[in-house]
């Protein structure tokens, strides 16, 4: 399997390599630099390494703290999806304390998280990724594509109001573009909706183990619903507009499907609990995991390997190899069996001990603060470098294949697609969108899935707001259940952060945190070569990305590489460095012969 072995360097004719580096990468959250050596003759990236720039030490300073502080602390891991961490930590604590929140508390968290997806995917897609596809950028990187865009009618012009693809690109120009500014505005009212449920964005104030502190009134849900319906109307413009833009890219640049392409190795840990099923008990986790409104799953080469959260949990392995840490083989084992009696591996997060060892960066040895999370596929004995497809691609893929989700027709998983139905809004009629499993796991499809998942989130929110209002109308306004913290306990939580899989693992001893390890999506996506030499997903997806940019080496911007990496929605503090290993003669040639016509 290609992801299992260190890539062999191409033995054939010496490629003409040009060193290209970009540090930092921008329009992402986190520290990310890019080092490449590019074969301009073959027009490909030859090799890539990924490296993280930052270490803070959460798992160290959380030791010995009160377990009830965990969600307040872990929210601060991430400045754009902190609430995903807070939610996942609350799930973890609920399991450890054996507490089930009132249904209304769960609906409120579901609505908050839906608002987070609606906000975050919107601002990332339009104000960060969108700039890579805007007129100003395309003019600088691919003038011929812009010319073509200006002469290409947008197939869905009637739905979104932009006559040509060039008009769409102009609307995405930073600050001056009309759609860019509209998206900023949308990012604000969706965050207001979020604050109605979880108090503050990005670190919520009203989440607790056992439920929420939000005062559940008719007013709070009405205020949410009004904002949600504005977003539903907005989606009816956004989905067709992005389909037009992304379809144009394949058409204008044949072969673009190879940009950011990698084998389909997707992980999704599920999102939105169904309070009728979920009791946060580990022993029933398979059942309530499968009731989630996004189905957890591992997808390998188009096959759904499992939908069991227990399988997912037990398969997680944290490997070292290229990271600035000491191994924990000789440290203590905290959890040797899960509550079902299954053995728990020494390299599982429950048993991880973090031992930092700051040192010089060396791409032939240790080059990152990121570890290498992998998923052990017991069918094959392989440690899979799963990615999240930026979040939405894995969520839609897993949900589609599983065919389990059906929210009163608002969202329906068919086994090969996901159907999203949005009701009539102020000026637009009801619509039905179908996301179909794409041919590739690549940059464009990660981006397209993001747009569809925005619509999906709106549909889920419509379902949850109705459920919540029904509770309030029935007089069930309790949002929180009391609990006591046991002296000894373990817990785990599974959720989808905006950009993909999120797990938290906690061990409580003597009423204090003895071990706590969060695994957000970017350690998976931005992971580094592990002890088996398997590269992380960014490294894998960027290596062999073809170059379509029209600039030669002297004015090269690296836009195709940027699009490949940004499609994963990097939300670090951790990073990517792409670098060619030693032993290859580097020619620093700034010659026009390496340009588009070479």
């Amino acid at each position: 399997m290609t992801t299992q072995t260190r890539r062999e360097e191409t033995p054939t004719q010496p490629p003409q390599l040009v060193e290209m580096s970009w540090d930092p990468m921008t329009r992402i959250v986190g520290s990310l630099g890019i080092y490449t050596k590019i074969d301009f003759k073959q027009r490909r990236v030859v090799e890539a390494y990924s490296s993280s720039h930052i270490f803070r030490g959460y798992s160290l300073f959380m030791q010995g703290k009160d377990p009830r502080d965990a969600h307040f602390i872990t929210s601060r891991i991430c400045g754009i999806c902190g609430d995903n961490h807070a939610t996942c930590s609350v799930y973890t604590q609920n399991m450890a304390y054996g507490v089930k929140p009132p249904a209304l508390g769960e609906w409120i968290i579901n609505l908050g998280e839906a608002a987070e997806y609606m906000f975050d995917h919107n601002i990332f897609q339009e104000n960060l990724v969108g700039v890579d596809f805007c007129e100003q950028m395309v003019k600088e990187t691919n003038p011929s594509v812009l010319e073509k865009a200006n002469n290409t009618e947008a197939p869905h012009a009637a739905d979104h109001g932009y006559r040509t693809i060039g008009d769409i690109m102009r609307s995405l120009n930073p600050f001056t573009g009309e759609f860019y500014r509209e998206a900023l505005h949308v990012s604000r009212y969706t965050r207001e909706a979020f604050c109605l449920m979880e108090g503050r964005h990005v670190h919520p104030s009203t989440l607790y183990p056992g439920g929420v502190g939000t005062v559940a009134t008719v007013q709070v849900f009405t205020d949410y619903l009004v904002r949600l319906m504005k977003y539903v109307e907005f989606m009816k413009k956004v989905v067709p507009m992005h389909d037009d833009l992304f379809d144009f890219w394949y058409q204008a640049l044949p072969g673009y499907e190879q940009v950011g392409y990698r084998q389909t190795l997707l992980g999704c840990w599920g999102s939105w609990q169904d309070p009728d099923v979920c009791d946060f008990d580990y022993r029933t986790m398979e059942k309530w995991g499968r009731a989630m409104f996004v189905t957890p799953g591992v997808v390998v080469d188009g096959e759904l390997v499992t939908t069991s959260l227990v399988d997912i949990n037990l398969g997680i392995r944290i490997l070292l190899g290229s990271s600035y840490y000491e191994d924990w083989d000789n440290q203590r084992t905290f959890v040797d069996r899960d509550p079902l009696g299954n053995p728990v591996d020494k390299r599982h997060p429950w048993n991880q001990t973090t031992i930092p060892r700051p040192q010089k960066r060396d791409f032939n040895d240790k080059y990152s603060w990121t570890m290498s999370p992998r998923w052990y596929d017991k069918r094959t004995g392989k440690y899979l470098a799963l990615d999240t497809g930026g979040g939405p691609l894995a969520r839609l893929w897993s949900t589609a294949l599983a065919g389990m989700v059906n929210l009163g027709g608002l969202v329906e998983a068919t086994g090969h697609s996901v159907i999203i139905r949005l009701p009539k809004s102020a000026l637009k009629p009801a619509v039905e969108y179908e996301w179909k499993i794409p041919q590739w796991s690549n940059a464009i499809e990660r981006n397209r899935a993001r747009t569809y998942f925005q619509a999906y989130s709106a549909a889920v929110a419509l379902h949850c707001v109705e459920k919540a209002l029904n509770e309030v109308r029935a007089g069930h306004t309790k949002t929180w259940s009391d609990f006591t913290v046991p002296k000894e306990a373990i817990g785990c939580g599974f959720h989808e952060a905006v950009r993909g899989v999120l797990s938290h693992h906690m061990v409580i001893e003597n009423g204090k945190i003895a071990n706590y390890h969060p695994y957000p999506p970017t350690p998976w996506n931005g992971s580094v070569r592990d002890i088996y030499g398997t590269p992380g997903p960014y490294e894998d997806a960027v290596q062999n990305t073809p170059i379509f940019e029209e600039n030669g080496p002297d004015t090269f911007k690296g836009i195709d590489i940027m699009r490949a990496v940004r499609s994963f929605d990097p939300c670090l503090p951790c990073g990517v460095h792409m670098y060619l290993g030693e032993g290859k003669e580097l020619q620093k040639v700034l010659s026009p012969t390496f340009g588009i016509n070479s």
Binding site: S21, W22, D23, P24, M25, T26, R27, I28, V29, S31, G33, H53, F55, R56, G57, L60, F61, Q63, K65, D66, R68, D69, I73, R76, I77, G79, I80, G82, G105, P174, F175, T176, L184, R188, R191, E192, C195, L196, G199, R200, H201, V202, H203, S205, T206, G211, V212, G213, T214, V215, D223, E326, R357, P358, Q359, K360, T477, T479, W480, P573
Partner: protein
């Protein structure tokens, strides 16, 4: 309204030990919004060029060029905004806790604290955004391995810019969006010669934003007055007995809301955990327990006036001080025992 400078650059370092939540928070601001400033929608202001990684058009060398220009004195004036806490890079023999850009000579990441050393002397003003940058915050918690501290702990509490401006601290975890934009707007007016020196308190906070306590602006205050305290989360009553520190925390969020008047903390059912304070988080943990001072004060709630205010003042002074371990030097005193060569 004539301005004395035509262009002001904002060099915004987001690579301290943080989460970049302050930058994201600021994109939610509307009073003014980031596009109001960038597009020149406010009268009298110079042209403003914001250089922040999360929204920049360019990347890599093109992006870093602004940092080098600022270092060479070619951007005059510029405001240096720092986000995240400053790790102590001196407690180990090699490696880095956080880096920005790469040293062309060594190909190693440049520690972010080096950028602070390089740029602070050239800046018109240094603004610390968020509680990590102002006082250390979450990443400077007891037991932390990096020796993290606030910008003023690093540069010195008496530090002044060449223009004589002290470090401006806008705390909050994250910062309340409009609190930050309003502070920047004030500084831009000051740079344009239209406003006097920005008024700051002893902790470096703009006085008009942090002069009152959470409790003084909380719409649940009358429940306190009536001696009605919530015993479970989700109740509309006063949250003091469930862990709210509002009476001794300097912050305007309950009054202002989180954004556009919506959301907040105790006003919408979230206990105040003191996230704007120098003593955050250690002096407020465990967050969900009743603050030690609250037991007494909620019992004497009928004996109004002076005594209660004096009691609160003592606690307010305590939580307005950082813990002792946030400092420079070669020693790590957070309680974490280093595993690396020193």
């Amino acid at each position: 309204m004539a301005t004395t400078v035509e262009d002001v650059h904002v060099i915004w370092i987001v690579e301290g030990l943080g989460c970049e939540g302050d930058t994201i928070s600021v994109t939610a601001a509307t009073q003014p919004s980031i596009e109001d400033i960038v597009l020149g929608a406010i009268p009298g202001l110079p042209r403003v060029h914001i250089h922040n990684k999360c929204i920049a058009f360019e990347w890599g060398k093109d992006f870093m060029e602004w940092w080098y220009k600022a270092e060479r004195g070619e951007l005059d004036p510029f405001v240096l905004v720092f986000e995240g806490s400053v790790p102590n890079e001196k407690i180990k023999s090699e490696g880095y806790w956080t880096g920005l850009g790469v040293d062309p000579a060594t190909n190693q990441p440049i520690p972010v604290s080096d950028w602070l050393d390089r740029l602070a002397p050239k800046a018109l003003a240094v603004v610390a955004v968020g509680t990590c940058a102002t006082y250390g915050g979450i990443h400077a918690m007891q037991g932390n391995p990096t020796g993290a501290m606030g910008v003023a702990d690093y540069l010195g509490w008496n530090w002044r810019s060449a223009a004589g401006i002290p470090i401006i601290n806008v705390p909050g975890c994250p910062v309340q969006p409009d609190n930050f934009m309003e502070t920047i707007l004030y500084l831009l007016y000051q740079a344009a010669g239209m406003a006097p020196m920005i008024p700051l308190d002893d902790e470096g906070r703009p006085t008009w934003l942090f002069g009152s306590t959470v409790h003084e602006g909380c719409d649940r205050g009358s429940y306190y007055e009536q001696g009605e305290f919530a015993t479970e989360y989700g109740s509309p009553k006063c949250l003091v007995k469930l862990g709210c520190w509002g009476p001794v925390v300097n912050c305007n969020v309950p009054k202002r809301g989180w954004m556009n008047g919506i959301g907040g903390c105790p006003n919408v059912g979230g206990i105040c955990i003191g996230c704007t304070m120098p003593g955050f988080p250690d002096k407020f943990m465990p967050f969900m327990d009743e603050p030690p001072g609250a037991k007494l004060s909620t019992n004497v709630v009928q004996l109004w006036g002076g005594p209660l205010r004096r009691l609160r003042k003592i606690t307010n002074e305590t939580v307005n001080k950082e813990p002792s371990w946030r400092h420079k030097g070669r020693e790590l005193t957070t309680g974490y025992r280093p595993t690396w060569r020193r």
